[in-house]
Amino acid sequence: MPHRNVIIGLLIIVPLALCAVAAPWLAPFDPAKTSIALFQMPSAKFWLGTDQLGRDVLSRVIYGSRVSMLIGTGAAIVSAVIGVPIGLAAGYLGRTVDLLAMQFINLFIALPGLVLALIIIEMTGPSLINIIVVLGFVSWPGVARLVRGQAFAIRESLFVEAARAVGGGAAWIIARHIWPNVFRLVAVQLATVVALAIFTSSSLSFLGLGIPPPTPDWGGMVRDGVDYLTIAPLMSLAPGVAVSLTVAGFYLLGYREE
């Protein structure tokens, strides 16, 4: 039986993922369609009201889930592709490889991810693919450190010693004995990476360096709404709640009992 936190996480994430997939059918309006009905209060027609261009806030929040999910999962995959091999090599090979890898990992962990992402994205330009790669790039050290610790522990176990005794090379042992035992832990950790990536990417958008408009994106929507907080608070609060819920969902999904 999974932990209660994991179940709550799933209860948030599954509907959200469905929402992202089924956005065109769920959204009552075209998220980019402007109208003269500016700053409408919530009504039967516009459940969450409309924004400064007369666009339906609910439809934009629904469509916004797509960008968030894409960035989150994409960044998690990138971080695993970089972090897992480095962690495995450091943990299993040890010595100089480990020392160098840890030095690098600690360097990146100490750096502020958001600041790093801001700098790189300002240089490469804020496209969806750039944001995914950059966020994966800033979150790999966590994955690497976790994998390294686990690989380090497994290296000492009897079955690895046996594999070494029958003449198994490092690459073969890592692939056949270490990785299968690290895999589950990585999968759990990736949920946390997704949470962090969505958190950071929405902060980037909020600061003005996110997915360029008119693609609906939660952080950008919150930013747009700030100036109208007194007349149309839902413009900011609705997408803000959506980001927070999504981050919470993935965070709970990645819950590990220490």
């Binding site: 030095q103 600690n106 360097l107 962990i109 100490a110 750096l111 502020p112 991810g113 958001l114 600041v115 801001l118 700098i119 790189i120 300002e122 240089m123 949470a195 958190f199 929405s202 902060s203 909020f206 600061l207 003005g208 360096l209 952080g219 919150v222 930013r223 700030v226 907080l229 007194t230 608070p233 900011s236 609060l237 803000g240 709640v241 980001v243 927070s244 981050v247 919470a248 965070y251 220490e258």
Partner: protein, 312 residues
């Protein structure tokens, strides 16, 4: 102990140098040709070459880096592209609000995390509240928390100012009124993360023999918790503060933007978006290097404060 400290410093210093190099090179790379940027598109190649030579942009990057560093240590960071002011003059007045925000945030987060987790009276009521607040602190992004607080306390209730950062001269009352929301926003995440670390250590300490002795000699639960468990569980929180400083810089960046605080964070974003590279380079370098230096200090402090580590 000395050898451990020396080893930490020797491992830490190359990182600081490496990151400052990386930052300088990537900013220089993104800059393209500053001479073209200054002269505009219709500049003649001769004029560009002349300006490049005049400012030294035609020399190897490593030489430029060393020169920049040498000047930086004397407080000279060049001049802003957009205003022509000396970067140091723009930077210095912005340091105070940022440092104040960060220090208050850390102090508030640590105090509340440690006190609320140590309370033994009414624990059944307090624990779920702490858990909920922690979840909020970890999962609600700073900008959302800030805007929600502004909406509730400034727009709806009208109790607190929405933004700005009144100076000390405008009176202590107003000063602190302006700080309540930003500090809460920044502290929320650290309240959660410090609390998590503290409670884990607290549970471990609770099982120690000397705690049983303290109970056995008839001390009240409150006194056991605050006088015996707390001092013996606080060390990991100090380490956590040290390793959170990078995140803290990022958090202040967003928080300063939400509340329009004239600090380093807002300067950084505006310089980045406005491509004012001398300002951006100075702010980036100072932030990142000071974060790493303080990390190192926290590491060293931990060694000094913990006799168990001193031995090996």
């Amino acid at each position: 102990m000395l050898s451990v400290v020396v080893r930490r410093v020797l491992l830490g210093l190359p990182n600081i140098v490496l990151i400052s190099l990386l930052l300088f090179f990537s900013v220089a790379g993104a800059l393209g040709n500053p001479a073209t940027l200054m002269l505009g598109l219709d500049a003649t190649p001769e004029r560009i070459a002349e300006l490049e030579h005049q400012f030294g942009f035609d020399r190897p990057l490593l030489v430029q880096y060393l020169e920049w560093m040498a000047h930086a240590f004397q407080g000279d960071f060049g001049r802003s592209y957009s205003t022509g002011q000396r970067v140091a003059d723009i930077l210095v007045p912005r340091l105070l609000p940022s440092v104040e925000l960060a220090v208050l945030g850390i102090v508030v987060a640590t105090t509340f995390a440690v006190l609320l987790s140590s309370l033994t009276v009414a624990r059944r009521v307090i624990r779920p509240i702490v858990t909920l607040l922690s979840l909020i602190g970890i999962t609600v992004p700073n900008f959302m928390l800030g805007i929600t607080l502004i909406y509730v306390f400034s727009v709806a209730l009208g109790w607190l100012p929405t933004s700005g950062w009144s100076s000390w001269s405008s009176g202590i009352g107003l000063h602190f009124l302006h700080r309540i929301l930003p500090v809460t926003t920044l502290a929320a995440y650290y309240f959660a993360s410090f609390g998590l670390v503290y409670r884990a250590e607290y549970r471990a300490t609770q099982r120690r023999l000397y705690i049983q002795v303290a109970r056995a000699k008839g001390l009240s639960e409150t006194s056991v918790s605050f006088r015996h468990i707390l001092p013996n569980s606080i060390l990991p929180v100090i380490t956590q503060i040290g390793s959170s400083l990078g995140q803290l810089a990022a958090g202040s960046l967003v928080t300063e933007t939400v509340f329009s605080i004239p600090g380093i964070g807002t300067l950084f974003t505006s310089a980045l978006l406005g491509r004012d590279f001398p300002v951006f380079l100075a702010v980036g370098m100072i932030t990142i290097v000071s974060v790493m230096v303080m990390n190192l200090l926290a590491d060293v402090l931990y060694v000094v404060a913990n006799p168990q580590i001193r031995l090996d």
